[in-house]
Amino acid sequence: MSKVAYVKRYTGFLTMTMVCLTILYAPLIIVAIYSFNSSPSIIVWEGLSLHWYWDVFFGIESGKFKTAAWNSLSIAVMASLTSTTIATAAAIGILRGRAFRGRNLSFMLISMPIMVPEIVTAVATLIFFSAIGFVLGYSSILVAHIVFCIPFAYLPIAARLRGIEPVFEEAALDLYASRGQLFRHVIFPMLLPGILAGLLLAFIVSLDDFIITNFVKGAGIETLPTAIFGAVKQGIKPNIMALSTIMLLVSIVCVTLSYLLSRVGSHGGRE
């Protein structure tokens, strides 16, 4: 808290903060509030009601949403588990294997999908699937999700692994652990918060993905985001707001957990 460079002292700091926060969160807050509106209008407030939440689960469109939600959830679970396993292996291989040429390059390659515009990945994936004759549908979505989830799972795992000093592995080997025991009793438990953070991040990225899914899903199958997009095309009804609010809540919970997990043990865990 030095007086010199304390950022709050700059003129306009508060205004700027408020403007940014408003632009970021006002739409989300409005959607959340109006999801409790009893009116079928999306702009006129009539009164508090859980009607649209009931509508999401039991209304005319509920069947469509339920199928889409099941697709989204099952894909997100499988994609996050698979990509996290691959990312864990990659992190250990890259960071703990013998030094090899292109170690930095491999890290860049792994995190590239985060940097590349998603639409480019989407088009490229679609072209690739067509080229190899992969039938579009549930499995094409799953494969695409596994692939683009890997970098999201990799980052927290690699960050965690970098924080674990190699001396613990030496100590385990010195105390007669085999390679397998070393992983099971030392590396895995110490890496676990990172792995869980990666898993949650991959889960939420998969659950929320629209662009890539929309390209590779083929006809007749919907995930929650594409189903919402389809429904919105026929005009926005408040049940979309209710559904969006539910998804927002799930996202917030996952991201918060992921953040908390990535901090476990990094403060006061040792010493």
Binding site: E165, V167, F168, E170, A171, A172, L173, D174, L175, Y176, A177, S178, Q181, H185, V186, P189, M190, G265, G268, G269, R270, E271
Partner: protein, 366 residues
């Protein structure tokens, strides 16, 4: 006190060379460490002592030569198959395990039964008075307690040789001194060969049966502490262990019991050490500061006339810097048994007396 078996060699290094790329960390290390011995590798940081330890543990592979354990070549044997354990510098206790789990880890990995493991853990924790802390995490223990936990974790699987990599460097002075005694006792009780790495000469001298002084990847001298201190083989060893006065000298006269030497400033001193060169030849002598007696009054025939350049009070003793009339600088150290120190003021004339037996001729001139 201890029955040191001088015939069984625990660890033998045969012309070991270790290179990291173009950098040579160990040059031709040739050394035998005996069973049941407290052996210390002493040297400044970067001298290769830790590398040598890692070669024995198996974390590094030798570039040339052999590391043998009880007569068996360790080449190709990974660390988890060597009956050697390490106490790491920062302990490396597994943070996600309790102290008991940490201590039992090696025994468990070796395939001991649950009951066997528990018995060993209990015995070990008792040995270092940590029984009450068995179910705590390492982070809940003080530095000294963590140190002791790391120590018994390495001892628990009963290794033939225990490697200790500067294990006391993270502790404060009082604790470090207490741990020295504890370590030595532990070594004598367990009968395990200890190979201890340190840059602290006091640590080395107070615990070791033998010391190897290393610098620049070369083992300079191996021997008991007293021998290394009293008869350093060369300048490097003399400079590293303790304070020294290193002076150039020419043999003036030789007799049956020693020689008369001419120092750089022309003054003559008697020396009863073995001087292996002939009259007229030159070399170097070593005089330890505490062997020089400084006195305001001349009372001895082998005194050098000096001016007192400075006197620094250091609590138990006082350090004097003397300039001989011929222009040579000598450092002396005397215990503050009385008020002698206060009676000599800077710039006054004093006499430095050196016993003939305190002057060492350095065998290696380098």
């Amino acid at each position: 006190m201890m029955s040191q078996d001088q015939t069984t060699v625990a660890v033998e290094l045969r012309h070991v060379v270790k290179k990291f790329g173009s950098f040579t960390a160990i040059r031709d290390a040739h050394l035998s460490i005996y069973d049941n011995e407290f052996f210390t590798l002493l040297g400044p940081s970067g001298c290769g002592k830790t590398t040598l330890l890692r070669l024995i543990a198996g974390f590094e592979e030798v570039t040339q030569g052999q590391v043998r354990l009880f007569g068996k070549d360790l080449q190709d044997l990974p660390p988890n198959r060597r009956p050697v354990n390490t106490v790491f510098q920062n302990y490396a206790l597994f943070p996600h395990m309790t102290i008991a789990e940490n201590v039992g880890f090696g025994v468990r990995m070796k395939g001991a039964s649950q009951g066997e493991m528990q018995k060993t853990v209990e015995r070990m924790l008792e040995l270092v008075r940590l029984t009450d802390h068995a179910h705590k995490r390492p982070s809940q223990l003080s530095g000294g307690q963590q140190q002791r936990a790391a120590l018994v974790r390495a001892i628990a699987p009963s290794p033939r040789v225990l490697l200790l990599d500067e294990p006391l460097s993270a502790l404060d002075l009082k604790l470090r001194q207490a741990m020295r005694i504890e370590l030595k006792q532990l070594q004598q009780e367990t009968g395990i060969t200890f190979i201890f790495v340190t840059h602290d000469q006091e640590e080395a001298l107070s615990m070791s049966d033998r010391i190897a002084v290393m610098s620049d990847g070369v083992i300079q001298q191996v021997g008991p502490g007293r021998e290394i201190y009293e008869h350093p083989r060369n300048r490097t060893v003399a400079n590293f262990i303790g304070e020294t006065n290193l002076l150039g000298a020419i043999v003036h006269e030789k007799s049956g019991s020693g020689a008369t030497l001419t120092l750089e400033d022309g003054s003559r001193v008697m020396c009863t050490d073995n001087v292996p060169v002939g009259v007229g030849e030159s070399g170097q002598v070593l005089i330890r500061p505490e062997k020089i007696v400084v006195s305001a009054t001349e009372s001895s025939s082998f005194g050098l006339h000096c001016k007192l350049a400075s006197a620094v009070y250091l609590g138990t003793d006082t350090q004097y810097v003397l300039r001989t009339d011929g222009g040579l600088t000598l450092t002396a150290r005397m215990q503050n048994v009385d008020d002698t120190a206060m009676q000599m003021s800077t710039g006054s004339s004093v006499v430095a007396m050196i016993e003939p037996a305190a002057i060492r001729w350095l065998a290696d001139g380098d």
